[in-house]
């Protein structure tokens, strides 16, 4: 089986959110970059588990990003990817990025394409469904469980108000979230091995960008907390009722 895992680079979850260049760019200086948690913990680790169960499995990684994505790609290789492809583009337009991933996917004849549920910076939650649409392949979003049974994927996914189990013939595209797998830490052997694993850089195909960022803004600061004495919980209830009109 051949699996393609889509890896994106995001600021660390504790990074300070600030903007530069007249609020048109994320201020990335001094920020620690990580593999988007959904891609790493859920999509990639589940792919690695499938490979552990069936060693003939091959895991390719894809990232659409600049050269500064390479540390996170190496980390994903250290965790257990076999080889990686970086499409050299810094586009933030989902349509453009998905078109690039679909292009690579077409030539690789993958049985499974895994993405995270969303990136924690742009919160697009779109790439997986778009890749599937470009490829005209089935798409299952918000998967929490995945098992492979010969030529079929058995998936549990989140739907509005519950969960659903389904069976789909491969190949397909899947977006992954919590439940799929548990976070892992790369070991020394993995880290050493990752240095020599292939990381191919390709130029993007011509494509259109349908959206662009005009500016970012930060939410207004909170006015500050109003503390109520623990002996007067009825005062809290009064405030919530009369002032906040929340109950």
């Amino acid at each position: 089986m051949k699996i393609l895992v889509c890896i994106s680079k995001t600021p660390d979850t504790t990074a300070k959110i600030a903007f530069a260049d007249n609020n048109t760019k994320f201020a990335g200086d001094g920020v620690q970059w990580i593999i988007n948690p959904y891609d790493e913990w859920y999509a990639l680790v589940r792919a690695i588990e499938l490979k552990e169960a069936d060693p003939s499995t091959v895991i390719h990684l894809i990232n659409v990003g600049g050269a500064d994505s390479e540390p996170i790609i190496r980390k994903a290789l250290a965790l257990g990817g076999d080889e990686a492809i970086r499409v050299n583009s810094e586009s933030n337009d989902s349509y453009f990025v998905a078109a690039q991933i679909a292009e690579i996917a077409k030539s690789g004849s993958y049985d499974l394409i895994l993405t995270g549920k969303e990136t924690i910076d742009y919160n697009g939650s779109s790439i997986g469904a778009m890749v599937a649409a470009f490829l005209e392949k089935p798409f299952v979003s918000h998967s929490v469980k995945l098992n492979i049974d010969s030529n079929n994927a058995m998936i549990t996914r989140e739907i509005e108000g519950g969960e659903e189990s389904c069976k789909i013939a491969l190949p397909l595209v899947l977006s992954c979230q919590k439940g799929m797998a548990e976070q892992r830490i790369p070991n020394m052997k993995g880290i050493m091995g990752a240095r020599t694993k292939p990381l191919k850089v390709v130029e993007p195909i011509a494509g259109e960008e349908l959206t662009s960022v005009v500016a970012f803004d930060l939410p207004p600061a909170k006015a500050g907390v109003k503390l109520v004495s623990p002996d007067q919980p009825e005062e809290l209830v009064r405030l919530l009722h009369e002032e906040a009109k929340a109950i």
Binding site: D121, S125, A129, E163
Partner: protein
Amino acid sequence: MSVLVYIDQSEGSIKKASLEAASYANETAKKLGTTSTAVVIGSTNDKLESLGNYGIKKVYHFDNQELNSFNSTSYSKVIQEIAQQENAEVIVFSNNTSGKAIAPALSVFLKAGLVTGAVALPDTSNGFVVKKSVFSGKAFANIKIQSSQKIISVNPNSFGIHSSDGQAEVVSVKTLQTSAGIEITGTHKITGDVPLSEADVVVSGGRGLKGPENWGLVTELAEVLGAATACSRPVADIHWRPHHEHVGQTGLAIAPNLYIAIGISGAIQHLAGVNRSKTIVVINKDPEAPFFKAADYGIVGDAFEVVPKIIESIKKLKSA
């Protein structure tokens, strides 16, 4: 030309998030000087004429039996069909699990620029710019859509439901787009509870509650408030509570009217999932807990003493 909105339903009833999307579509239509049309897929128990109460003029109801179970590919093909027929300029979704699966596929099929997680109406003063939530609620991005057709998905609880009086015209249609390929082998509905993503009030517990045996505090407070329950990530990880209750950066992001956090420290990753809540109440025995910085109201105290008193006090208020 019109503004099209996809109305999502669960087991035959229209979701609150969809009424919000309908309201958003209608306000957008007014801005663009046109009207709003809805698409409903699958059998429904609700009277679709009543979507007129949210400004919808016309409803296309695709009631093919085969479409009763959710399939993002066939659903997006159906919507594509109607979007082309209607020459829809804008297509609106709720940014819920269904919208997240359908809208991006539609974006590819129509080559229409997509903004997910919109929090305000489009600004049409200079192009077509939509404000969306980014960095898990810690910031906003204003995104320009360049294509002629545009797709927007609205973050639940960010725009509100705007109702008026009216009746929509309902057109029943059958479609040929029913390509399945997905065999549903089981469905498990989380019933009895208020769905977390749609709840107006959420009561949430953290590790400060010491153990699952103490969760009565959270569920009882939720019950008197008609609220949904949630929890911090470690609480779900150690199986005190089910995974679907986990809110935060790596769990569900919610934006209720009122969020009550009990025994939660307020780590940045937790805040990322709840900071869009309108009013935040924090109950924590540590005055230094970071959550107080993000809160509107707080009690520094022991949850085991404070929460039962709050429950009593709310009961009194409700019976008054």
